[in-house]
Symmetry: C2
Subunit: 271 residues, 2 copies
């Protein structure tokens, strides 16, 4: 009943991945996917022509912390069976971004008209999964407290190159007391396939971040004197890298409009 009480009256009851995707496909849900199908994994999306797919796949395998691949499609196939029943990658996200030669050309609500037989879909895990586990343990997530996006930064940490795909790792930052930072290392270590343990703690200048108050993406959040900034590899990394490559054609999710899967966050915990 708790779920029923906390649900907004104008919101349909969407408690499974499939019901979320069907509502989105039918136009009954628009806008951000945050809060849909609580406990289910949501994924970042990148769709690339087959000519680039092998290199991008290898890029993800070489850089599993920023690019934790949780699902891929066969060329031209809009399904990703390992992530959900009756899943159509062309219609099941609320909004997309379509890119040609690195230029944003459209932000449609479905991409059927852009579909090609050579397109390969890549679904990459996102920090929502481990944030759920942190919140359950009572660890404050400052950006959620402030109702804003997590701050993200380009770093001096290089990714491993694969074909044309190369560039700096992007990280997200969550300020925590040292005690919570230690607990957060333990908790996120349990989720190696959705970014895993932090990549850095405490000294942003060592990873090329001049000012934590000036993120490159997302919003700044306050870091108190009794806190350390804790940095995780971020799923914005592959998007940033793809933007650099300027592929002739590419589709990504619109920020905040993720793929809601049938997989549970807890399935991704190794312990």
């Amino acid at each position: 009943m708790a779920g029923t009480i906390s649900r907004r009256k104008d919101q349909p009851h969407i408690d499974s991945g499939l019901s979320a995707r069907l509502a989105i496909r039918a136009g009954a849900h628009r806008g951000p996917t945050a809060g849909l199908a609580p406990g289910n994994v949501q994924g970042n999306l990148a769709i690339l022509p087959q000519a680039l797919a092998a290199d991008f796949l290898r890029f993800c395998q070489l850089n599993p912390k920023p690019c934790p691949l949780i699902g891929t499609s066969a060329p031209g196939d809009p399904r990703v069976p390992e992530l959900g029943e009756d899943l159509d990658i062309r219609t099941d996200l609320p909004r997309y971004r379509v890119w040609k030669n690195g230029e944003l050309v459209a932000e449609p609500e479905d991409v059927r008209e852009f579909w090609r037989d050579d397109l390969v879909s890549f679904v990459i895990g996102c920090s929502f999964s481990f944030e759920e586990a942190l919140a359950i343990e009572g660890i404050e997530l400052r950006h959620i407290t402030h109702g804003c996006n997590v701050p993200m930064y380009r770093t001096s940490i290089a990714t491993q190159q694969a074909g044309p795909f190369r560039g700096p790792m992007v990280v997200s930052m969550r300020p925590m007391t040292p005690r919570d930072a230690i607990r957060a290392v333990q908790i996120t270590t349990r989720f190696p396939s959705v970014h895993g343990a932090p990549v850095h703690i405490g000294k942003p200048e060592l990873i090329g971040i001049a000012d934590v108050n000036k993120p490159d993406y997302g919003d700044a959040v306050p870091v108190r004197d009794d806190e350390l900034p804790v940095f995780w590899a971020c799923g914005v990394t592959p998007q940033s890298v793809i933007a650099t490559v300027k592929p002739e054609f590419c589709i990504t999710h619109y920020p905040g409009s993720m793929l809601v899967t049938d997989r549970k966050n807890t399935e991704f915990a190794i312990l």
Copy 2:
């Protein structure tokens, strides 16, 4: 053969806990136990009159991070069967300290002449166990590099009181790069019964340490600009607490002269 080559020529071959204890008992090994029976757990020793034993046992149970109890004896019994075959707690450490009403009265090589029928032995895990695991992973232990004792500090973190036993937690400090600090949290989390994960990272002033270069016990080690000080609960805590209580009678190990057990460090890893 590596073990044979690295062994000093004048040192007997001591590769098991039992052979270490028998050599010590026979007077064939004197001085620090570091390096004896590599891979075996070494323990801190506290021997108290039965009148204090229940409170001290509860103190250890309330404060498992600084006081990880790995073995106890029956009153008056010099054996601790769970820690070793043919183990005599009165003769099997190279040197002891005997205390009366908080005063150090003797530093003998065995304590048979001091033995009483009401004495209870407590063996407490030590950081040697997790340091072995850190070293295997290639993490530098600065105090070992410098050939000195680990720096230790009294903190503002209070232990949980049990009877007369109360006082500040003592911590040890190892400087590490942020990357190694994260890895060290993961590794030491695997050893909850020998101090476990760090209790603090990065901001010594928050736990009452005014100057990391001025430890209360052990030796100062340099902390580089690209490093964080990482703090673990330390087995000196129970000794410090016992010293405050000034029991009418008490025996502890002489610093560096530990109990070499038959248990393997790896047995204490939970994963």
